[in-house]
Symmetry: C2
Subunit: 695 residues, 2 copies
């Protein structure tokens, strides 16, 4: 459940995974199943050495085209020639929730389109298929060469926007992203086919998908059926495709070689010590405290009644998932031994740089400059987070802000815009902005009140911005006024304001629009400080450090995760925990044994009814050594024949510090077994339309 990457800055950030120990910039030969490798730099030799499997280019090509990205922060796989896509339940959860209402709750009851006509469009899901990767390093590095930090950063952004625009050539069907790998050591252009007509085909009940709930989250053994099926449509018809993964009926065998192809969101294995200190001492504790309070608010909000329980469920899940993952990361960063290793590695690199006059001249100052930039970042972190980055989930405010900014940004030339308003980014922005997903006043007021209360608390009541925003009003009073009086629930109004541009936005009397306009100058101010004085330094130095590392250690390694397609290799394998062996598989017998009938340990009615006719020894979940992290949710687990043997949905608790490194002895990815999927689709859900399509 926890591996979804949430890219929406305005809400909750990513759940992260994976444990430490090797920590190396250099993946050390074939010793460990470490690494989230790019598809154009697959470590063929390492895999051949260790597993005696040689991946052909055709194999890699097929695997790439059969993989899918869910632009909201997940992974998936094409599993039929008719555009059927498999992902996690928690990756489709927002869609399932958005299609539900107080009368019919598909989160609770599950969803199954018996006929193809019953498949329903998801308001906000975009699927991407990676059709090509090309190298644009020389182009970008020559454009930014010798520029100082602020100019470097501006030029970098505008060059990226330019390349992306040229690549998509005006087509909203094509998505082009310039990806910075090795923190700027290499720039690649990723070209995708973009699909926004994605329909819900099947989802089990939340109780089955997330059996064990928060207490079992990041735990293994595990008994979750965290799957859903979507279908990609092209011109109102199911997408015809030659590239899709075939299905393995038998599932994943112990010790079997497995590959995971997916989109790990973000790792920090190559960050400097001063970056990590800031995360450990400020960012993580700050967010843990804030999100814990919000968790409490939503937990108690749910007690207001059944409808409140329903509408807050998805959000609360996201927060709890984030919290558990972040606690793991904090645990890793406060581990003295771990941190000492990081410091020693950095010191060793600095020593090597300084001992070579050429390297010293070019890269010697990078670490100290980062320390200074991180000091500045520390000073503005609260302002940056409260004014620019976060609103803790008020959708109406996010909409208002997007409209206000669109009015200002879109008239600019493509290269001068904020990156989220470039031509390349607009289709996804518009999908969110014009989404028909319901907006709930109660929840909106709660979230907005929380944001305003924390804003006042953390920036203090006497802060000029706080005074400007709140005036004489209390946070709750202002939030209630804004939510109750805003008309932005109306999608047509949003379209009118978007299409009418700044002139139309300026005419609007909507209080949420006025509120967003009030805030925007301050938000731009603090973003500018961040981009010009901090991000620019950190980015430029990250690039310099990457180059120094290439020069010293060579380039046969993998880059930090960037929510782009990666492949990891590993095997189905148990591990030792507190002195006993954890076997790599669970089965349906175990699930029924764990059922207490009380949430979150209550299996749904459908399972209880089907129990008699099931083969209970069928594998349900398994764990493997594959190196994954948040964003890998929904990734296919495939065997050597590129057949699906499972689907990633979690990592074990030992893997929680994996943002910073990987430890093969206990680090495990957790997946649903393909055999368990077919068993449940057939026996529990009677979803034979899907299973026949898979076969």
């Amino acid at each position: 459940m926890p591996l979804k990457k949430n890219r929406n800055k305005a809400y909750i950030s990513t759940p992260f995974l994976i444990c430490f120990l090797t920590l190396s910039f250099i993946a050390q030969g074939a010793f460990a199943d470490e690494g989230m490798w790019t598809l154009n730099n697959f470590p063929k030799k390492l895999v051949e050495q260790k597993y005696h499997f040689s991946a052909s280019d055709a194999w890699l090509h097929h695997v790439r085209l059969s993989s899918a990205r869910l632009a909201g922060g997940c992974s998936g796989s094409f599993v039929s020639s008719s555009g059927l896509v498999m992902t996690n339940h928690h990756c489709a959860a927002s869609c399932i929730e958005q299609l539900s209402n107080s009368k019919k709750d598909f989160v609770e009851s599950g969803f199954y389109a018996k006929k193809i006509e019953d498949e329903v469009k998801c308001p906000e899901i975009e699927v991407n298929k990676l059709v090509s990767i090309s190298d644009v390093t020389a182009k970008i590095q020559s454009a930014t060469k010798d520029l100082n930090q602020k100019d470097f950063n501006e030029k970098l952004k505008s060059e990226i926007s330019k390349i992306e625009k040229e690549c998509s050539a005006g087509s909203e069907q094509t998505r082009c992203d310039v990806v910075s790998l090795y923190h700027g050591g290499i720039y690649n252009l990723y070209k995708y086919e973009r699909y926004q007509d994605v329909r819900l085909v099947f989802a089990p009940e939340f109780a089955a998908a997330f059996f064990g709930g928060d207490p079992d989250n990041f735990m293994f053994p595990r008994y979750d059926l965290d799957i859903s099926f979507l279908r990609v449509y092209d011109k109102q018809k199911p997408l015809k495709t030659d590239d899709f993964f075939k299905w393995s009926q038998s599932g994943a065998k112990e010790s079997e070689l497995t590959f995971v192809t997916g989109h790990p969101g973000n790792t920090s294995r190559l960050l400097t010590v001063s970056d990590l200190e800031l995360i450990r001492d400020l960012k993580l504790p700050k967010n843990l405290i804030l999100m814990s309070e919000l968790r409490g608010i939503l937990t108690e909000f749910q007690r207001r009644g059944a409808e409140q329980r329903r509408i807050a469920k998805g959000r609360l899940f996201g927060i709890e998932n984030y919290l558990k993952a972040s606690k793991g990361r904090f645990l890793t960063l406060t581990d003295k031994k771990f941190f000492a290793t990081k410091v020693a590695q950095e010191q060793s690199l600095i020593k090597k740089i300084n001992s070579n006059p050429k390297l010293k001249k070019e890269y010697g100052s990078a670490f100290q400059e980062n320390i200074e930039a991180n000091k500045k970042l520390k000073d503005i972190t609260y302002e940056l987070d409260f004014i620019e980055n976060n609103t803790y989930g008020s959708k109406l405010y996010q909409i208002a802000r997007a409209l206000v900014r669109a009015g200002d940004e879109i008239p600019k030339s493509n290269e001068k815009r904020f990156h989220e308003f470039t031509d390349s980014a607009l289709p996804q922005l518009k999908q969110g902005l014009f989404s028909t997903a319901p907006i709930y006043d109660d929840l909106e007021i709660s979230m907005l009140t929380f944001w305003l209360t924390k804003l006042r608390e953390d920036l203090t009541a006497d802060n000029a911005f706080v005074k400007k925003v709140l005036g004489q009003k209390s946070p709750e009073e202002l939030a209630t006024e804004l939510v109750k009086n805003s008309k932005l629930r109306d999608v047509n109004l949003r379209k009118k304001l978007f299409d009418g541009g700044k002139a139309q936005v300026d005419l609007s009397q909507d209080p949420m629009i006025a509120f967003a306009k009030l805030i925007d100058p301050d938000a731009r101010r603090v973003r500018k400080i961040y981009e010009d004085d901090i991000e620019s330094v950190l980015k430029k130095n990250a690039e310099r450090i990457a180059k120094a590392q290439f020069a010293i250690y060579g380039s046969q390694t993998y880059p930090d995760a960037t929510f782009t397609l990666r492949i990891s290799y590993g095997q189905v394998k148990g591990y030792q925990e507190n002195g006993h062996a954890v076997v790599p598989h669970t089965d349906f017998t175990g699930a029924f044994a764990r059922n207490s009938g009380k949430e979150p340990f209550a299996l749904p009615e459908s399972w209880l009814k089907a129990k008699e006719k099931m083969n209970l020894s069928t594998h349900l979940d398994f764990c493997s050594t594959n190196d994954i992290i948040g964003g890998n949710s929904g990734s296919p687990v495939i065997n050597q024949n590129a057949e699906i043997v499972g689907i990633i949905f979690d990592g074990n608790i030992q893997s929680l510090g994996g943002d910073y490194g990987y430890d093969e002895s206990v680090n495990r990815a957790v997946a649903v077994d393909s055999a368990g999927i077919v068993e449940s689709l057939d026996k529990i859900y009677g979803a034979t339309r899907i299973t026949s399509e898979l076969k």
Copy 2:
């Protein structure tokens, strides 16, 4: 508002204060107004050097007897010959809340007993007056000499219980506490007169006492009237006393020498680096996360309605206060420069110890042993906190547990009991146990659910203890059952069970009693591990380190705070903040200017009505350099003539790291001015009965 020390382990721990920099074991001469000095080791010379005031023994004697301790975690002062005691509003808040109900809310409306007959008894307030201090170091150290750690700890506890029992000689009117100063360097016996008949005389509205609420908490300038008046009764009559502080009508003047006599609860200035690391990396973050979630729950709980708002108010205040203080402490401990200073000081001490063969032999191993003990503590912290130390505020469970344990403990000889069940401790235990304070089901269920949910989350669902406690039930289900079916709301039943002892308790069918019995063996088990393997090591080594410090640095210094009477000296003084000068006084004009009419910035009706007739330039609050911390709440601020010029209620934000050190440049205690008190009692509240008693 934040300086109350909460000693109730079962609920929220202490808010701490005071900033860093000097950090020294040795208070460095007359350089800074640092130190919370014991009354029998007052730094006469330092004060005379710096302030040209010579404190006579008679002055110190008078000051000691005029000071009061509120056993629940606060300080106070006798201010008339008829037992009138002044303390903070937030120190009497639990009483004010307990005397209120859904019809009449004295927290909201304030309280004033116009006639002496209208004074109402507080269910749970105990006032102590310190009548003597004697040295028992030799007695204790000879009893524990050469014992190994576990035996040392047991012998230490039993010797303390023995001395305390002898001292009080069977009288419940006498309270005797053996106090470990300098972490065991010195043991003193503190003998108090104990008063449990304490009545409420006056309290302003919460809105006046805590004007500015959480946003202004720990801020200065400030505009709070955080006062209340109680009266100590002896044999149903107001206590007659010769020792009380006279009142200064004019209040505190800028630069004036001020003394604070009160009961700072707890400081950590003498802790070792491994102690501090555990606080920084585990204890503080853990508690910040837990308490933030509870804050969210209670915030949203209050939105259920007016009654829920009322009954959760005090608890939420306590949590928010704790959180703000703890964030300050965390900020200090994650300050690299600060922590490096601590490490350097410890290294220097270790070097000095090791360079002297005798010292090395006696004390050389102490620091390493502490590191090992802290590793063990790290491993059992969650168990210890969830099973033994904390229930996050369920009163019914605390009552049940006290009854169950009383049945087991009281039959033992005094020396063998848990310390909270020794003869010396029983009067306070019984006051709480037999309190008539109301218990609210809704709140009980919420708190118990929270505890059980976190228990399962942090110890994991597969933990044997968790399985035993929850069985097949959900946390909410179990909590609801226990609270709804327990009869322990009935004080007579509690008396019957207490008086009947174990036999009676064992006969009880009360589900909360059964629940407490179910938990107790595990709680005792983990407490025993803590006491035998960890506390014993830390205590013994703290004593060894203290002795080494005495040997190396001499003994002219002050011990860490221990919730015993201390005196600090300083002066009324402003400071610099963000480049501008903060003046040391505020007045009523400022309070009215800050009034927005919206909580928490809404002055009560009584103030608005009285405005016309008031002298608005009268000083309301002020700040001084006195070194204080949580527990000092309600402490009198006195001048050279031992006249009251104010009452401590807070520290500024800069002082929040003061658990670990003191920085005179910005560290400020915050007090209500005696002039502002009289002005408001006379003009706003017409409380002339009090002001005439004060004059």
